[in-house]
Symmetry: C2
Subunit: 359 residues, 2 copies
């Protein structure tokens, strides 16, 4: 049967002061819709995978937030990581767990904090992807058709097409974030797609791939055979999980395996990985200003994002060009969007100067 694994253990400081260590981005209602990014992701997959087969993998720290935001998820479907080890151990554990519940399982694994505007295309892509991976020993990743020479994304280069399967290709290469020149070349070529971190495979296929390409991680989790989906799982994971090497699924498996495919899709997707990405994904006024969750009276502002956590608060601004204005009860950020890569360092400074309550 088909399963879904939503990875929601991420901790990001790029949206500081909005995202906090105690409440990272996936738990925030970024668009004022009343649903957090995680909730929106959960809602979105239900059309393809029923709630009882949706699993959430997260850091132990976020268990209360998960239960608060997704009370409909059975506790047995929440896998709590005792340590942060990037995506490879997370995916390996989830695959073992699901395998124990259903040896025939196929799985879609995806991040909890991305934006997908074209829901129907998303559902179709997942259904076609499941059909594809269920036919054989295949590892599939979704490749987003690029709409701009983005330098913030990794790219997937397509290889030869899969016969009879429109939009499916062998993967020729994975590429790190390119510089602008290279990104333009990628865009013009038509062969490169954004790596969205959405993967499909059979549980059996990914576990086989771990054995072949990441034997160290494979060994850590294979030692728990017989304990997964039993009362013994928690104690085993508490011991074993922290011993797994920290690694991404891309490095551990995707860039090494030979049975890797890409399904190219147009999902109205953004990883919302930066204020700029959030700005691009949000409705603008005529001068490129974006208002998130607040009322703004502005004069002569351009390309500025106003994000306020208190919906009762107003902002009056004039003359700002290309700024991020982000306000929360204990922190106010007013920063040039062009320098947003410095915000991570700023957060480090904030912790040093003002203490942990602010990060």
């Amino acid at each position: 049967m088909r399963y879904c694994v939503i990875m929601c253990g991420g901790v990001g400081s790029r949206f500081w002061p909005f995202s906090r260590e105690a409440r990272p981005k996936q738990f925030l209602d970024f668009f004022g819709t009343g649903r957090s990014l995680l909730q929106l992701t959960f809602d979105r997959v239900l059309e393809v995978v029923p709630a009882e087969r949706v699993l959430l993998v997260t850091n132990r720290q976020y268990a209360p937030l998960i239960r608060e935001q997704l009370p409909e998820v059975p506790p047995a479907n929440i896998l709590l990581e005792p340590a942060r080890r990037n995506t490879a151990p997370c995916i390996c554990w989830a695959a073992h767990h699901i395998m124990a519940r259903d040896p025939e399982a196929s799985i879609v694994t995806l991040p909890s904090d991305h934006l997908v505007l074209k829901e129907q295309a998303f559902h179709t892509a997942l259904r076609r992807g499941f059909e594809f991976v269920e036919q054989g020993d295949r590892l599939l990743t979704l490749g987003i058709k690029p709409t701009a020479p983005q330098t913030g994304y990794g790219y997937i280069q397509q290889g030869r097409p899969v016969e009879g399967m429109e939009d499916f290709f062998k993967v020729r290469s994975f590429t790190e974030k390119p510089d602008l020149e290279l990104a333009k070349v990628f865009l013009a070529s038509g062969e490169f797609f954004w790596n969205a971190g959405i993967f499909l495979w059979k549980a059996e296929s990914i576990l086989k791939a771990f054995r072949e390409h990441d034997p160290e991680t494979s060994a850590v989790f294979s030692a728990g055979e017989g304990l997964y989906a039993t009362p013994g799982e928690e104690a085993f994971i508490a011991e074993a999980f922290p011993t797994a090497p920290s690694n991404s699924i891309d490095y551990a498996i995707m860039e090494k395996a030979s049975n890797v495919y890409v399904e190219t899709v147009d999902l109205g997707w953004s990883d919302l990985g930066s204020w700029k990405a959030l700005h691009d994904a949000s409705p603008h006024d005529g001068r490129g200003n974006v208002t998130q969750g607040c009322r703004v009276l502005q004069h002569d502002c351009r390309d500025t994002i106003f994000a306020v956590s208190d919906p009762g608060k107003i902002v009056v601004a004039a003359g700002l060009e290309g700024y991020i204005v982000a306000d929360t009860p204990n922190s106010l950020l007013i920063y040039p969007a062009s320098q947003e890569q410095r915000i991570r360092n700023v957060v480090t400074d904030v912790r040093t100067l003002f203490g942990p309550d602010y990060v």
Copy 2:
């Protein structure tokens, strides 16, 4: 005996969102010292006039704030105006009231919302001023030695010196706010002083001046003779006060009377009448940034004022030049200081767009 009248009925929107109709500037702790401007003014006069002879005149609306901020002031010393009529009626009433308590009284009348950095000079100026006005029928105003060609202040031109009284002069003229060119001429001449709105006279002298120069106001308040400082005063004022014409003491008396003198002083004074004035009066960092009641982590900001009402809040900012950043729980202002004269209009717009909770 010597009395003090602190005028604290002002309502100003120039410091929005800090000052609000419900809590105007004089009630705010602008410098994070733990005392509001009114409290600082009160503290400052106690050296010269004892608390039991300090009177507060304010609009009825602010009675609870006055009692909260100055519980040591006897209720009988709080004169509550039933309507807003500028300074002339306020001063005329207070003089009648004090005259009824002490026909020999001399009075210093001053605003509640100014900054005075040189306390000792202030005390000396008041003591010398009292001595001067107690010797005859004289109306005295303090003239602040100008330190810059300020266009935001009215100016007093000195006339011939008072014999044997250093720093005391007849007043030759009162001048409205000049343009920059004229202000430079004033400054260079050495004859012009800032009008600080601090006045000294005997109760008898100012009431005589009202009779001569503003008979209409004089008639309104003279009708209450015998009721001042009695239980009948409140009912009389409730009826009479609103019938007084709205007028400033400068127009009504000072510009007309011939017995007007100026005592020129250096008090480290500012009327704190604008963000710019507040900026100038506050300690700067090396790049002209001012921080009011908050902690700021900034890069590449210049000549920017950061004012936050919540002392627990932090601000992170970059690249702002010449900005006012003012944050309160329900309103955030980010405005070029060079356009601060527009803030009054902004406040009107805010009321229209967002309602009275924000002004």
